[in-house]
Symmetry: C2
Subunit: 419 residues, 2 copies
Amino acid sequence: MSELEGNCLVAQSGGPTSVINASLAGVVAEALNHECIEEIYGGANGVLGILNEQLVDLASESQQTIRALRHTPGAALGTCRFKLKSQQDYDRVLQVFEAHNIRYFFYAGGNDSQDTADKISKLAQERGYDLRVIGIPKTIDNDLVTTDHTPGYGSVIKYIASTVKEIACDNAAMGQYDLVQIIEVMGRSAGWIAAGSALAKRRDEPNAAPHLIYLPEVAFSPEKFISDVQHVLQKEKYCVVVVGEGLVDADGNYVSTASAGSDAFGHSQLGGAGEYLRGLVEESLQIKARSVSLGMSQRAAAHCSSQTDNDEAYLAGQAAVKAAVAGETDKMVTLLRGDGETYTCETGLASLSEIANGVKKLPESWINEDGVSMNYNFYKYALPLIQGEVQVPYENGVPAFAKLKMVRVDRKLPAHSFE
Amino acid sequence: MSELEGNCLVAQSGGPTSVINASLAGVVAEALNHECIEEIYGGANGVLGILNEQLVDLASESQQTIRALRHTPGAALGTCRFKLKSQQDYDRVLQVFEAHNIRYFFYAGGNDSQDTADKISKLAQERGYDLRVIGIPKTIDNDLVTTDHTPGYGSVIKYIASTVKEIACDNAAMGQYDLVQIIEVMGRSAGWIAAGSALAKRRDEPNAAPHLIYLPEVAFSPEKFISDVQHVLQKEKYCVVVVGEGLVDADGNYVSTASAGSDAFGHSQLGGAGEYLRGLVEESLQIKARSVSLGMSQRAAAHCSSQTDNDEAYLAGQAAVKAAVAGETDKMVTLLRGDGETYTCETGLASLSEIANGVKKLPESWINEDGVSMNYNFYKYALPLIQGEVQVPYENGVPAFAKLKMVRVDRKLPAHSFE
């Protein structure tokens, strides 16, 4: 494969994770190793910034800043949920790439973002513009196919399992007053995150918290829920419940209107799945329940993130650059787990189109028959992903994070007209 | 002062903090130093366990367990919100003390618990039963008088400030989609905890998150709130709001019914102050807002607790024992801040009755004129309290906590009959 000389562009897309910036650091660090890559640009706010020709010079950032990115939550370049809509949008991306001689494009994101990357890649090929496009997996949702798991997942479940374990200590002490504790976690369409809360207890501690886990994969029945809670309270003096925000009933409808979406406004929307379950307990059993909604804190919790996850996110960034330099394009970096008893992980590649069109579901065979706990297969899968603690530096008592200077690259094109 | 020989009893009361067990460890470790203290007993579930003669032998716990208590959240002995009601209850406490030759009683808790300790102490004096009673301050609410601050407060605000800073990174990246982020924190009657979120930013970063802090001390006006949010969004691309759960309007009524209490049941109660503010933003401004309710996680977050707070909690436990052995009684340990520029803290003593009848309010002069941010005086007060990070050991990827064996001391009395 002939060496392709030019500039590289890296951008971030979709909801942040606590390790998406570790992937960014991996891209920048690796790009420095390759002379064929001249400038290292970042796109502000994902593909939206590319359309707006908002490029920043990442090579001008200090090594300290790039290092500090490894433990900085959020998406340091900014991100977006924007989908390229028209042919005009796609053409514009290529125009910006041509204007800045972008020959390497790295896009960190989930399914939609990989789909965008795929379409940009195919258009470049069609137009004969020499461009190498490599996607970097990123999502706390862990729902990308072809990869064993996604960077971001290990950290979100490490934080949730740790938090559930801590809250359970409180409930154990206060059990007689706050009998039922509901903890709502993210996961609109799959239970990967809620399932991860199981790691708060060892498999040989079946009676420890979380006592009940409600997953979007299992149709919710209020009657069974109340009976489950009663069953736990017959044996234990408190009951810790974890619920995925995307809990649905037998007809596939979200159990709480607040989970249904974000377009309607008003009080009727208040309270998500957690508050709904709290209401059910208080109404049906006339006992005190509390609920916690961790919201954004779970995907931003760098201070309680997984070193394994962080290392793999960094590795994925590096691997993206290596693959592109080696001539690969239209691929996403994947994480491949070794076959041995000891957990190992290396990177691979899969075609972008394959990822864009698939959704990896939580295997139903990993859920126990009771529908509210996880079995050996899930533990075997998830436990290695939360090992190791990222040591975030503290300054003035709070975590210290990187902030990019965001030195703008001069614009060369007129403004884009959005349709 | 003559040496008093006998057994000691330590118990925990009220809502746990992430350092209440550090005080317990301090009591046990210090008690071992004094030969006049024979047995070291713990009371299960606070004063309720004393009534029920549920005493456990703490001297039989391993040194490892006592050490691990220092970073274990919850209340390892169990706790209660029970108030002694009748003369019969008080008499029973003394009977149990006599039966087990308890001569030293240490009670870790807030105002109500110190009041209970005071009454037990006075009854013992009245009956001529030689007993030394020392209270240990404990509350995330930081509302005890006579002490500069309370063990538990530094850790809860360290966790909240850290979490706010992390969430702000996410919002900075996603600002264009989730414009307003509401973070509800504890504090039913005072804004000490909400105010602590200010530490997420340095005082020279006025435009950083949290942008707006709503305290129970400042009467809430929906109109001003919406105007505040609009003002922030004119300057920043996102707005992070922290709200204390006990927010009240100009008439002193809680803004959300869910904050009002726990006795009523049903859906009308769903959603606290945070959800209420989210609804206001979405209704009034027709923009997307999100809310997080940290709930119990904030007072259980040992993994992000303050070393300063932890050290002081331990010190308070030790000081309680030292004071009692030296002949003091009917006192609570206080934390006294040194006058120098560099933060120092030593312990003192105050009379229990003084604490039981007072509530320390957040000084209004520490709130800026805008009513939504804290000034230099608050920073000077609070910043030292969150310094240092407790290193919690991890096992299998989650924090490892102590669990007491809870070896029961044989009962010597018939069961107590509650009225």
